[in-house]
């Protein structure tokens, strides 16, 4: 057991019917079935959930924080991407 760690899994819990699954944390497990059981014991002890998703952490692809400037900053000065930028004609109701 100690010479080889079990893989890491990310856990997503849906707290109520109709809501989205939210990232709850991560844990170790030998396979998907065990990951769900472990998630039940680690993250839903206090009635936190009605549904559990797990995904092995290595399958998550993340954006690179170093590229944040080029990825997100350009959106900063493009106010026309927000609907509030546009003046609506008075005749238009229910917007």
């Amino acid at each position: 057991m100690h010479e080889q760690q079990w893989p890491l899994w990310e856990v997503f819990i849906r707290s109520k019917q109709g809501l989205d699954h939210k990232h709850a944390g991560s844990l170790h497990a030998a396979d998907a079935a065990m990951a769900i059981e472990n998630a039940r014991d680690v993250y839903t002890r206090r009635m936190e959930g009605v549904s559990i998703w797990v995904v092995e952490s290595k399958f998550i692809h993340a954006s690179n924080p170093d590229e944040a400037a080029s990825l997100y900053d350009p959106a900063n000065d493009k106010v026309y991407r927000h609907p509030t930028f546009y003046d609506l004609p008075d005749e238009l109701k229910h917007m």
Partner: protein, 252 residues
Amino acid sequence: MGYPAHIEYTLHLADNALILGHRNSEWTGHGPILEQDIALSNIALDLIGQARYLYQYAARMIDSDVTEDTLAYGRDAWDFRNCLLVEQENGDWGKTVLRQFLFSAWQYFFYGRLQQSQDRDLAAIAEKSLKEVTYHLRWGSEWVIRLGDGTKESHARMERALDQLWKFTGELFVPAAYERALSVAGVAVDLHSIRSSWEERVAEVLGEAQLTEGAGDTWMQNGGKEGRHTEHLGYLLAEMQFLQRTYPGCEW
């Protein structure tokens, strides 16, 4: 000792849950991996919770200065009515999960029947506990299959555990004197009625785990339900009861 059958029966069920709960709690902080440490500690808490309901009910029936605490901490080994299986030592993880599986399978069918008891209190406790036990059984089954059908080493350990524990499974279906009278009255579960369900479920899981069931001619140990225990219970109680024995009534 010698309470009326109804109280003895309630204590028997309470002692089963408390002793196995305590055994499982011995793993807290020592589990093979954090997640499973939490899982087994959760099961321990479920069982101790069941024991509390049952002790509280027994204490109400005894109707004196007796409380759930005096029943748990103030009785000696020969007063305990738990079956021998639950007091067996933890051994390795394989033995612990096998013990849990064998007992949860019994509790699962047992509580299923107890829900129909003429005793409304016992029926209500059974109904509440069954949900927990359903999960314990699922958890235990998964582990037995995982280790039995795992590596050469894990398989050998599970075979050894089965060899050590199988002889304590017969007692689960032998009614004590207090059970016989109560099952006629519709209060206690007729153990005969759940035996084949238990055997089927256990055979199914052991089969999937590539484990060979104990031989049919195994000599079955008996007596725990009537206060004749293996040497392990005394050590367990010495540790569990130490504080209340040394400082009676101590609270914190």
